[in-house]
């Protein structure tokens, strides 16, 4: 089995920052495994601006933020970038198996940084009753369909949850000519940043219902309507507050879950509640030399913070490998 000094799993902002920083600290044998055919991760579909104010002191779109790291990492010859490379196995001896088109490869790493990001919570996780018609999407999936595939997945939209991606997508659907009929948030306040409430909802007069929830989804083949009901401070339904909204699409924007199946496979001690490694220090796990950074370690609000902490992960890996400051 081939041995590498440092293997990084992922190709988004966390992985790229970690790789660059480990290299700056002296690591010269780095393999980066990205499952997609491009570097950049989720930033490629986050075409809105709002990135980089802390790290670059500039307002950038997601692809622009990614671009700066892609240019930099491509210029570092010591970092081998392997695209379309999907890691299927990881064990506690830091051995990985990954698939590339036409081949299966094994590699043993002296240190590993997992930068595998996160995925979206689904309708099933927020317990919405009703039928299971077409037209129910997580907000990020709708974002991918519109921004990467050029497809508009609906015309009359209800957004469930007021996370930033949901707010951003409410604006995106509106700009693309769809009608966003409501954003429904069970909490008393929006989950997303207030600036996104202003520029994504208020700018387009999209109604926001706080302390409300969707109680049922109707429709046989395609979503036809939803029931919306007010809730009190204990999230109990308020009598006689139910009303209907006709729509063909329901977007779920109910938060993110770190994606950590591989470290779980390697027997890393996990917090089952958050799906993150139990750790006394950011980026560390119960296995020496196995680090986790970015949204896989914890869900961040800003990519700038992901970059900051992932730079630290690269430094920690370098230090573990014996490179001094």
């Amino acid at each position: 089995m081939k041995e590498r000094e440092l293997v990084i799993v992922g190709g988004g902002p966390a992985a790229m920052a970690a790789a660059i920083s480990a290299h700056e600290r002296g690591v010269r044998d780095i393999l980066l495994l990205e499952r997609d055919q491009f570097l950049g991760g989720i930033l490629n579909q986050c075409i809105h601006t709002g990135f980089g104010l802390n790290y670059f002191k500039e307002l950038l779109s997601g692809p622009e933020y990614a671009h700066r790291f892609i240019e930099k990492i491509k210029g570092i010859k010591d970092i081998e970038i392997s695209l379309q490379s999907f890691v299927t196995h990881l064990n506690s001896d830091k051995e990985l198996i990954y698939l590339r088109p036409g081949e299966m490869k094994e590699v043993r790493a002296r240190a590993i940084i997992m930068a595998t990001g996160c995925r979206e919570r689904t309708r099933e996780m927020i317990h919405v009753a009703g039928t299971r018609p077409a037209g129910i999407f997580s907000a990020g999936l709708a974002q991918k369909l519109i921004n990467s595939e050029g497809l508009l997945p609906g015309q009359e939209i209800v957004v469930v949850g007021s996370g930033d991606i949901g707010l951003i997508m409410a604006r995106r659907f509106t700009l693309e000519g769809a009608k966003v009929k409501a954003v429904i948030e069970i909490q008393k306040e929006t989950k997303g940043l207030v600036r996104n409430v202003v520029q994504c909802l208020n700018d387009f007069n999209i109604p926001l219902y706080l302390s409300h929830k969707i109680s049922r989804i109707y429709g046989k083949d395609r979503v036809e309507k939803v029931d919306v009901i007010a809730v009190d401070d204990n999230f109990n339904e308020v009598d006689n507050s139910k009303f209907e909204i006709e729509c063909d699409t329901v977007l779920i924007s109910a938060g993110l879950i770190p994606e950590n199946e591989l470290i779980e496979m390697a027997q890393v001690k996990m917090d089952k509640r958050t799906n993150t490694p139990i750790s006394e220090k950011t980026n560390k796990t119960s296995i020496e030399g196995l680090f986790v950074c970015g949204n896989a370690f914890k869900i961040y609000d800003l990519v700038d913070s992901v970059t900051r902490d992932s730079i630290a992960a690269g430094e920690m890996a370098a230090e573990y490998l014996g490179y001094k400051k």
């Binding site: 075409i47 622009e64 050029g150 600036r195």
Partner: protein, 118 residues
Amino acid sequence: MKKEIICIECPNGCVLSLEIKDGEIVNLEGNKCDKGKVYAVSEIENPVRVLTTTVMSEGLSVLMVPVKTREPIPKSELLNAMEKIRKIKVKRSVEAGEVIVRNFMGLGVDLVATRSVS
């Protein structure tokens, strides 16, 4: 007239308290930095936004090329701008930052690609 608006220049989301007289801000409170002041004036006189969207490509490795207006454009022009952008097709490789349409809609602002696509 008193008015409260929320600054959207950064994730802080400062609540700005404005006192407006004859269409001009005579008093401003709540901004943590100077960007808030510029935003408040613009929001009262001529609200503007950076438009980010995509244009279709033809024969390139990525189907949709992300674009933005290099500077903010009037908020009232956003939907018109989308109509125009829908008709654009990118048929050659572009670099991030490269101009797709110069002086877009005569607004004095360029429409630029935000991703390198070949």
